[in-house]
């Protein structure tokens, strides 16, 4: 599944950049995130509970900041597993100057869901994923604009 969008954030670009590459900050906005463990500068591990319809699963997600070109572009790769399910995702963010000193974030994500969650929740996955992505950016926007 491919997703893409643009979010305007009323915060300066260096602040937005610092936020998105800090696992402890950005991680809190991930959907259902329960804990974040930083392994090194570019690797971290999250535990997140994700539910689709009547199925829910606790995922352990290994994330890697695969590319970073400060303060313009970052690519995060994620590989998560839960009993009987797995998620593999690549998300890219491109920052540019927005209106009135703000920041424009163009993002896209390629998400593959495998196993029970895909099998049993197929009809609900896209809607749920869209909702989760929306929640993630709403959270980032709220924290950065606070």
């Amino acid at each position: 599944m491919k997703f893409a969008g643009t979010t305007d954030i009323a915060a300066p670009r260096d602040r937005v950049w610092a936020f998105v590459i800090d696992p402890n900050q950005v991680g809190q906005c991930g959907p259902g995130v329960e804990s974040i463990e930083v392994i090194d500068d570019t690797h971290f591990k999250a535990t997140a509970k994700v539910g689709i319809g009547f199925i829910s699963a606790r995922f352990v997600v290994n994330m890697e900041l695969a590319e970073q070109d400060a303060p313009d572009r970052a690519v995060i790769k994620a590989h998560g597993q839960a009993p009987g399910s797995a998620v593999d995702a690549t998300a890219a963010m491109t920052l540019s100057d927005g209106d009135a000193g703000g920041t424009r974030m163009d993002w896209n994500a390629d998400v593959t869901i495998s196993g029970s969650l895909a099998s049993l929740g197929a009809r609900l996955i896209e809607g749920t994923a869209n909702k989760m992505i929306g929640q993630t950016f709403d959270c980032m926007k709220a924290k950065l604009e606070a």
Partner: protein, 792 residues
């Protein structure tokens, strides 16, 4: 075939609708299914399954699982590798993983087994096993699987087989078929996909493996259609692994079975895991699938991508048929077809029609899906064949502007052509196809329906009439051609008559609801005159039942039923000698009527079969062995060819695209009938299982190989609400080579129904330019067509 004498209702031989002996326990909830059974000290096994359709296993961490109270062990492919048990042979002679050591090949494949003291602890253990996967490219489409750059899915097959192509099989004369097509006035070609479906039996698969290390005895309680074959496969696998489990110490025991339909023929990894776990731990181990495991991981059926071309004269006289098919087998060919027939009996595709020339070819292909495919209530790919030919004949009729019933009648093999040799090599035993179709046309009021259709079409209403005049091929099979893993496809019966005139008979086939306890007793009642109530039928315990290849492909009555009749006749031959001794007459002077021998011309000088049975143990003549028993291993001289004509009327909702089956007439001919009530029941069930793939069922995958139909929310089965009132009729054309003239009926309706329904839907839409709709014909598919045509 010999003449079938009429028996009294008390005896209850052939033709009597004797109530089923098995029903009292079922309707009282006293059936005993595998999951009802609990053995002392029993452990439970549950399976960790792959979320990926294709991935490398980088590691398996069971440490957290082993901390869960009750979890006794976690078994991985590496553990099994030590015993060479990580791969096992399939019934088709391919190899299948029990547990993978490095690569998973389909979503929901077995990855590890957790053994625990309760079902719950086992499930908790499964959730706690951490498997590190690295995803690999997934091949879902069998056409893409054959492309040059497709990843090779089975490198284990060796350097010389670096392709996903499994086998090529062909039948008929290609050059002759090509020439005949070339010379035809009219050529009709179509792509027809018969989708992957699942047998979805109410009871899922499972077993209890019970290894007794002291007695060196393995008892395997299981839900299987072929217990003897399972015993032999286990013995061979154990021998290969160097385990001290030999065939005389293996007892496979089935219990009541909640539906088989072909899905309980194969050997699944779960069985081997339970046996291995019991062997390692020395306690009984139970494995029962849940519904999603059953739908996602067990053998599927169908999945044939067919391209068919038919040639005919301008008047619609059929001349040639050419068929090219791709068979999607998943990652392993785990079909249960006879060895010489990798595409089953698919070359029966010339159907009920007098084709001059035909050529059929099939290529088996690997994909990242579960292995299969089983014969789902059809005798080895006959459903696929019948659907294709019945669709093609219908398209031809519409193309040449002829009524589909008329075109069929003009092209049927005629009664005086039997035994009839098909251009693909089969010899049909008997048939009267015109009689069956005429009966169906009369019963449904065909001419009036066509008038109604014309009127409705003029008003813009969508109504269609579909016909299917199928020929089945069942009763595998003659030993010169038919074997599974080398085991010839004979079947057996052993009959013992007790001194008090009661009978115990054991058969090599296995009932899964067909009513064998009743119908096999009726065969013996027919042949020997014992009342059906005095005859007990046993099966499914390999320690006691004679060897048999099991129940599938409608082979019980054609093969084991014949063995039963022949064994009974051996007993009757001895009974005649005993009667001659008792009546002080010569054997030639005795005449048999069901239940007694009497002296010709003096009906009062007689001995009943019960008196004769008593004498066999109390007063047998000098020089004759005591007792009254016989056994027969029957090797059928040919297959049997049941047939029928079905007509279906559908109305289509223009707003929603929903197809409603208004009427469905089924005229079946299964030869001589043992129990008319049971035959009707078989046809009712079969028709419903034919309605299902026509309108509802399909296993689908997303592009990553995720099974999207893993529950009954997405895998739709018809209920009583969707099922029309079936209208049944029969004709009787006995099989000339079968001892009681029977042909088998378990699958006719499942085979014959889908094309009747599909033909009716296309018939309703033909005037809009619709030539074919692949099953299942769902409302979205029909709505999309109506929408495109500007109607919906």
């Amino acid at each position: 075939m010999t003449e079938i004498l009429q028996t009294s209702p008390e005896i209850g031989g052939m033709g009597h609708s004797v109530k089923r002996k098995e029903d009292p326990r079922f309707i009282r909830g006293k059936g005993e299914y595998i999951d009802d059974l609990t053995l002392p000290g029993m452990l439970w096994l549950d399976i960790v399954r792959s979320p990926y359709a294709h991935a490398t296993i980088k590691g398996i961490d069971a440490s957290e699982a082993l901390k869960i109270p009750g979890v006794a062990a976690v078994v991985t492919g590496k553990d099994l590798e030590g015993y060479k048990l990580h791969w096992m042979p399939t019934l088709a002679g391919d190899m299948q993983m029990v547990l993978p050591t490095d690569t998973v090949m389909y979503q929901s494949q077995e990855v590890a087994a957790v053994i625990a003291t309760s079902r719950y602890a086992a499930a908790d253990g499964v959730a706690a096993v951490l498997v590190d996967y690295e995803p690999l490219p997934v091949v879902v489409d069998p056409h893409k699987s054959l492309e040059k750059d497709a990843p090779v899915l089975r490198p284990d097959r060796g350097e010389d087989k670096k392709t996903n192509h499994i086998w090529h099989w062909e039948s008929g004369d290609k050059a002759a078929a090509d020439a005949a097509l070339e010379a035809s006035d009219v050529r009709v070609a179509e792509d027809i996909y018969i989708p992957r479906i699942h047998v979805a039996s109410i009871e899922t698969c499972g077993c209890i493996a019970d290894w007794d290390p002291v007695r060196q005895q393995l008892t395997l309680h299981m839900t299987s259609q072929a217990p003897h074959a399972i015993r032999t496969v286990l013995a061979l696998v154990a021998a290969g692994a160097g385990l001290p489990i030999s065939e005389q110490n293996i007892r496979v025991k089935t219990h009541d079975i909640g539906g088989g339909f072909g899905g309980k023929v194969p050997v699944y990894p779960g069985y081997v895991l339970a046996v291995a776990a019991s062997f390692l731990i020395g306690k009984p181990v139970k494995w029962i699938e849940d519904r999603s495991e059953n739908l996602q991981a067990d053998s599927f059926a169908r999945d044939y991508h067919i391209h068919a071309e038919i040639g005919a004269t301008r008047e619609g006289r059929i001349q040639a048929l050419k068929v090219k098919t791709i068979a999607d087998h998943g990652y392993s060919d785990a079909a249960a077809d006879p060895s010489k027939f990798p595409a089953g009996l698919f070359n029966v595709i010339t159907g009920s029609y007098d084709f001059d020339k035909a050529f059929v070819e099939v290529d088996g292909v690997y994909t990242n899906k579960p292995p299969g495919g089983v014969a789902y209530r059809c005798s080895f790919r006959v459903t696929e064949a019948v659907h294709a030919i019945e669709r093609m004949v219908d398209i031809l009729a519409h193309d040449v502007g002829k009524d589909p019933a008329q075109l069929r009648l003009e092209n049927f093999i005629k009664p005086d052509q039997f035994p009839y040799k098909t251009p693909t090599g089969w010899e049909y035993d008997s048939g009267d196809y015109g009689r069956a179709l005429h009966k169906a046309l009369d019963l449904i009021g065909y001419a009036d329906l066509r008038k109604e259709q014309a009127e409705k079409r003029a008003r813009g209403e969508l109504m269609g009439i579909g016909i299917s005049s199928f020929t089945e091929i069942v009763g595998a099979g003659p030993s010169h051609d038919f074997d599974i893993l080398g085991l010839k496809m004979f079947d057996s019966c052993e009959i013992r008559v007790h001194p008090t005139g009661k009978v115990l008979a054991r058969i090599g086939v296995q009932t899964q609801g067909q009513g064998h306890e009743t119908t096999f007793a009726q065969i013996i009642a027919q042949e020997l005159g014992f009342p059906v109530a005095d005859i007990k039928i046993e099966y499914g315990d390999t320690d006691t039942a004679p060897y048999g290849l099991g129940t599938y492909a409608s082979r019980s009555t054609p093969v084991a039923g014949a063995a039963t009749a022949v064994a009974a006749r051996k007993i009757r031959d001895k009974a005649r000698k005993l009667a001659a001794h008792l009546l002080e007459a010569s054997e030639e002077d005795l005449e048999w009527t069901p239940g007694e021998f009497h002296v010709k011309g003096s009906p009062d000088r007689k001995k009943t079969i019960q008196e004769i049975a008593f004498a066999a143990y109390t007063n047998h003549p000098a020089g004759m062995e005591a007792g009254l028993e016989a056994v027969d291993y029957y090797d059928p001289p040919n297959l049997t060819f049941p047939f029928g004509s079905y007509i279906c009327v559908v109305d289509i909702d223009k707003g929603t695209g929903e197809v409603k089956v208004r009427r469905f007439v089924a005229v079946d001919d299964c030869g001589n009938i043992i129990n008319p009530m049971i035959v009707d029941g078989q046809i009712h069930g079969g028709l419903t299982m034919g309605l299902a793939p026509a309108l509802y069922e399909q296993i689908t995958y997303d592009e990553n190989g995720n099974n999207l139909t893993g529950t009954f929310m997405d895998y739709l089965l018809p209920t009583a609400v969707e099922t029309p009132a079936w209208e049944l009729e029969k004709t009787v054309t006995p099989s000339p080579h079968h001892p009681i003239g029977a042909k088998g009926v378990g699958e006719s309706a499942t085979v014959g129904a889908p094309p009747a329904i599909a033909n009716a839907v296309v018939d309703a839409l033909w005037h809009l330019g619709v030539r074919n709709i692949d099953i299942p014909i769902t409302p979205p598919k029909v709505w999309a067509i109506l929408h495109e045509k500007g109607i919906a």
